[in-house]
């Protein structure tokens, strides 16, 4: 990490979180080269274009966090402020506006970490399916044991029970899981 370059304009208020991004770009090397006037002019021009590019990238990053849409509930890790939870009210050129418990808040730049609130459908289906298969096998074996005549194999009863109850359990589990929220990290 190099010290700040005097030719790089200071970031605007509210964009300090992304200001370190300037240090990561190699184009700055050009502007710190020899003292030739022509090279300085070219360097300054390139720097100007590049800074604009960086700001555009930061802006894009801030206004279009991946997987985030209006109405989503998100959680942000904001340095010095802990975690902020709110519903996305607007994603615009001025940043991400959240409706929080303390009122609307706009974040010009994407903070360190962003999570979205998601449903646990897959987890619910897995848990329900496994429980259903186990219960279905058990019920199938019990049903076979209670059968007195013209009975099939115990394995057949167990397989049928596991399949049927497992499918039902997965369906029920996914429905219940859809009501259970979890945080999914989107960035970084």
């Amino acid at each position: 990490m190099r010290p700040p370059d005097p030719e790089v304009p200071a970031p605007a208020a509210g964009t300090s979180l992304a200001s370190t991004a300037h240090d990561e770009y190699p184009f700055i090397m050009i502007s710190t080269g020899k003292s030739s006037t022509r090279r300085s002019v070219i360097g300054a021009l390139l720097l100007l274009c590049s800074v604009t590019t960086v700001q555009a990238q930061d802006s894009t990053r801030s206004v279009s966090p991946p997987g985030v849409k209006r109405g989503h509930t998100v959680r942000l890790a904001v340095p010095g402020q802990g975690r902020v939870v709110g519903d996305v009210e607007r994603i615009g050129s001025d940043g991400l506006t959240l409706g929080t418990a303390s009122g609307p808040r706009t974040f010009a730049v994407l903070p360190d970490t962003l999570w979205t609130r998601e449903r646990s459908v897959k987890q619910g289906a897995i848990v329900g399916g496994i429980a259903g298969i186990a219960g279905g096998i058990f019920l199938g074996v019990i049903a076979n044991a209670l059968c007195e005549y013209d009975c099939g194999s115990s394995a057949g009863y167990a397989a049928a029970g596991g399949l049927l109850v497992g499918a039902g359990g997965a369906a029920l589990g996914s429905l219940v899981g859809a009501a259970i929220p979890r945080w999914k990290r989107r960035t970084p």
């Binding site: 989503h72 519903d87 409706g99 219940v176 859809a178 009501a179 259970i180 929220p181």
Partner: protein, 180 residues
């Protein structure tokens, strides 16, 4: 009295938009179950209590529900099933329509006296329910209030009447829900 009236008025006029993204809810309702007597079928009005677990998808809530409908001291109905609620609008007061399918364990449904002997019979029946209600939410709060009424219709033929779709019960309930 005046405070209560003001509170009721505040509830009526509060321009509340409920939380944008809720995934689930649990609700409890209590009220009355009403059954009209017919032939030897026991009728009456008694206490009822129900609970449900719901998964919300926008304006639609899928419900897993069950409850006790105490028609009379002789007749007790347990019901369980799955249902759906569709809420209309986005305000603090949201009217809704609700329906469901499920099983009804109807204990003491029939009461007959033959030659001085009393016969009580139970029955399990499959039925559907349909109704309407209203939900009131509070700004920034996970709690809401519910009021609803439903018709419960038996969907298979049984003795002593053989109607396919027979209105068995009516429920009128008030309750509350917590959502997340």
């Amino acid at each position: 009295m005046r405070l209560g009236a003001l509170a009721a008025l505040a509830l009526l006029v509060s321009p509340v938009a409920l939380h944008a993204q809720r995934f689930g809810e649990v609700s409890f309702r209590a009220g009355a179950a009403i059954a009209t007597p017919a032939d030897s079928v026991v009728g009456g009005t008694g206490p009822a209590i129900e609970a449900s677990f719901g998964t919300r998808f926008g304006s639609v809530v899928i419900l897993l529900e069950g409850g006790y409908l105490g028609v009379s001291s002789d007749r007790h109905v347990w019901r369980y099933g799955i249902g759906a609620r569709y809420e209309i609008g986005q305000g603090a007061w949201r009217p809704y329509v609700v329906g469901g399918v499920g099983g009804y364990e109807d204990i003491g449904r029939r009461l007959e006296v033959i030659d001085g002997y009393q016969f009580v019979s139970d029955m399990n029946w499959f039925g559907v329910s349909a109704g309407a209600g209203v939900r009131h939410g509070f700004e920034g709060s996970p709690f809401s209030l519910l009021a609803e009424s439903r018709l419960h219709v038996r969907m298979h033929r049984v003795y002593p009447d053989y109607d396919l779709a027979k209105l068995e019960l009516v429920t009128v309930m008030l309750g509350g829900a917590v959502s997340w």
